[in-house]
């Protein structure tokens, strides 16, 4: 009975150590995508994915270490990544439209002259 419990605990420990390592490798690959990505949207997608993977890592750590407060950080991470995506896209769209309009005005003025 007792030895079986010990076996269970070691299996739990091994699983909880191996999974975060795999996820960390995935985060690294996401980082490669974020650096390579030819467009801005590519990078934002990769960063969003990194956020999700990090959330899973934090949750696994919370279960492994039996510390409930780490899940709070998980929620905050989800919130921040959502906010970052919406804000970044909105700001970029604003900047793009402004530049477009200015270029058009410049073009108009040069043709008139």
């Amino acid at each position: 009975m007792n030895s079986e419990n010990v076996a269970l605990e070691t299996a739990f420990e091994i699983a909880m150590t191996v999974f975060p390592v795999i996820l960390a490798l995935m985060v690294f690959l996401c980082l490669i995508r974020a650096i390579k990505g030819p467009r801005i949207a590519d990078r934002i997608v990769a960063i969003n994915m990194m956020g999700t993977l990090t959330m899973v890592i934090i949750a696994i750590l919370a279960v492994k270490m039996n510390e409930g407060y780490l899940v709070d950080i998980c929620i905050i991470y989800a919130m921040i990544s959502f906010l970052a995506v919406t804000l970044l896209t909105k700001v970029y769209m604003g900047v793009y439209a402004e530049r477009k309009k200015k270029e058009a005005e410049k073009h108009d003025s040069t043709t008139v002259d």
């Binding site: 409930g68 407060y69 709070d72 929620i75 905050i76 919130m79 921040i80 959502f82 906010l83 919406t86 804000l87 909105k90 700001v91 769209m93 604003g94 900047v95 439209a97 402004e98 309009k101």
Partner: protein, 320 residues
């Protein structure tokens, strides 16, 4: 209106006159004092020529570095002295570094009895389960007051630097509400309708649990601020100005900082690291425990939330 006097008699009393003057209905000086309208300022051509020539001479005297020997010498001297000053400072700092104790030594000042005292006595003294909160809001409350004030001052400075003074431009931007950005994304609006209350409630939870679990005023305030930013992002500045304007910001910050000062000034002046407040500490682990830490956490949280939102609004729009 007075209940004792009739309408006619009340109009003759002094109280009525003062009230009328206070409301601005009647200016007592109009008609009683002779007023001369000011002349509009006009400049004739001769004085303008004089002024322009004087300015040109002054400019040449001050800014013409090539022909001004004094200025040349001064600029060279200034460069030499600045380099010398920086090197002296680096030398002094490096000299001081040689006096620091080696890393990892057991007798270092960071391994002294202060840390042990905090770990042993914090829960008994402050009643907070989270020792860090007990430290920053009880033993070191003066430090946190300074940090909150820094946030407030930073907002004021950014307001001075970034505010859009050009009135016509500001009006135009307000009319179009974020001129070039896409507006009224219905999907984002419907989701923000659910998510913003969730985020704000979570922030309040983090603030109120500051003395029980990691978190506290700063992180909870940041979460509430991000909720407000999401609200602005989805619904636009016009909607948020129904309940959050510059005036609200000023009053909230003022009230929070004032409460903080009033609650803690006595122990600051007495120089004691911890004084009895008279509020019972309660059982550690309950929400209503640990004396003044909970209200101070709420104050810090309000200041941080307002500052987060104010920074966003000012960088996006130039004033809020």
């Amino acid at each position: 209106m007075s209940r004792l006097l009739s309408e006619e008699e009340y109009r003759k009393t002094k109280a009525f006159k003062i009230k009328r003057w206070y409301r601005g209905e009647k200016d007592p000086y109009v008609g009683a004092v002779e007023l001369k309208p000011q002349k509009p300022f006009t400049e004739d051509i001769n004085t303008m020529k004089h002024r322009v020539r004087d300015e040109a001479i002054l400019k040449r005297k001050i800014y013409d570095i090539e022909h001004n020997r004094k200025l040349q010498i001064f600029s060279k001297f200034y460069r030499a002295v600045s380099v010398l000053f920086v090197f002296t400072l680096i030398g002094i700092l490096l000299y001081m570094v040689s006096y620091l104790p080696p890393v990892g030594n057991a007798a270092n000042p960071d391994n002294n009895e202060v840390a042990t005292k905090y770990i042993e006595d914090a829960m008994k003294d402050t009643g907070a389960v989270n020792i860090v909160t007990g430290m920053i809001l009880d033993y070191r409350a003066f430090d946190t007051l300074g940090e909150s004030n820094v946030l407030f001052i930073a907002t004021c400075t950014v307001l001075i630097l970034l505010r859009v003074d050009n009135r016509s431009k500001k009006e135009e931007e307000e009319a179009n509400d974020r001129l070039y950005e896409p507006k009224n994304d219905i999907i984002l609006q419907k989701v923000a309708f659910f998510l913003v209350p969730m985020i704000i409630i979570f922030g309040i939870y983090v603030i109120l649990n500051g003395h029980l679990s990691p978190g506290g005023g700063f992180s909870g305030g940041a979460i509430i601020g991000s909720g407000l930013i999401l609200y602005v992002n989805a619904f636009g500045f016009k909607k948020i100005e129904r309940f959050f304007t510059q005036k609200t910001y000023k009053w909230i910050c003022f009230a929070a900082l004032l409460f903080y000062c009033l609650a803690k000034t006595y122990s600051f002046y007495c120089g004691a690291h911890h004084l009895e407040t008279g509020i019972p500490l309660g059982t550690p682990g309950a929400i209503l425990s640990s004396g003044l830490i909970l209200p101070l956490n709420i104050c810090v949280g309000m200041v941080v939330a307002c500052t987060m939102y104010a920074f966003y609004a000012m960088f996006r729009k130039g004033g809020f």
